[in-house]
């Protein structure tokens, strides 16, 4: 089973169509952004915009933010988490504490810069100390983190 999320409406519509084009039956797509807690998230933060443009567009619009722990049904075994999400990778992971603690998944997180990779590793070691996540290299600008202690 694949649990996917995409906050922007156009990309979500396209991903849904891509799923249909390929007859993918085991894909659950959610039109949300994954975060640390459930709340409304300003759409303006999903793209690089000139703040002056935002003033001209009128009222601020929002997209729903959800925890991955609520998106993925309890009892599912998650072996890999792959995150490249508008610089929201770590908040998304902190909303998946149950999944990470229970499943100790391989983590593939967009982090092209060394500074970001170090930040992710320090967060993982602080929030999931028992799993002893290790930095295992970079692939296509994605940092790979492997748990030494599997659940």
């Amino acid at each position: 089973m694949i649990h996917g999320f995409e906050p922007t409406e156009t990309a979500f519509g396209a991903a849904s169509f891509t799923t249909r084009l390929n007859g993918l039956e085991n894909v659950n797509l959610h039109n949300v952004i994954a975060g640390k807690r459930a709340r409304d998230f300003p759409k303006a933060r999903l793209v690089d915009r000139n703040p002056e443009d935002d003033k001209a567009t009128g009222p601020v619009s929002f997209v729903e933010m959800k925890k991955l722990d609520t998106i993925v049904p309890q009892g599912r075994y998650v072996s890999v988490i792959h995150l490249k999400s508008y610089s929201m990778e770590m908040p998304a992971l902190l909303g998946a504490k149950r999944i990470v603690q229970d499943c100790a998944p391989l983590l593939v997180m967009k982090a092209p810069r060394t500074r970001t990779q170090r930040f992710f590793l320090s967060c993982l070691q602080a929030h999931f100390p028992d799993l002893k996540y290790q930095f295992a290299g970079v692939m296509d600008e994605n940092a790979i983190f492997v748990p030494l202690n599997c659940a």
Partner: protein
């Protein structure tokens, strides 16, 4: 296939009168809010993709439009490590990785 069928599908000699379909031009998908977006279709060895015109210059879109597989090394690693477990992936964008992950 019968010979008659082959004959019937053969290209006609006079092609001037035939209206060629628009191949590769953008089509339109309606969204829930009443808005629409234009897209084109692309394919690579894993499947087919709906590529929004607005996202055509993203790395993933450029890749699948050229029939290539974006981030192939990462895709192969994830597929190998998934085993029989679930995968969480996001943001999915237009779904450039979904057919490969399936």
């Amino acid at each position: 296939m019968a010979l008659e069928q082959l004959d019937s599908t053969a290209a006609p000699e006079d092609t001037d009168s035939i209206q060629a379909p628009d191949i590769g031009g953008p089509s339109v998908i309606p969204l829930d809010g009443g808005e629409t977006f234009e897209y084109t279709l692309a394919s690579n060895s894993f499947g087919h993709y709906c590529v929004p015109v607005d996202l055509a210059d993203t790395k993933e879109a450029v890749s699948v439009t050229a029939a290539a597989v974006p981030e192939l090394s990462t895709v192969e690693l994830i597929c190998r490590k998934m085993g029989k477990g679930d995968l969480i992936t996001g943001s999915t964008g237009f779904g450039a990785f979904l057919p490969a992950f399936h």
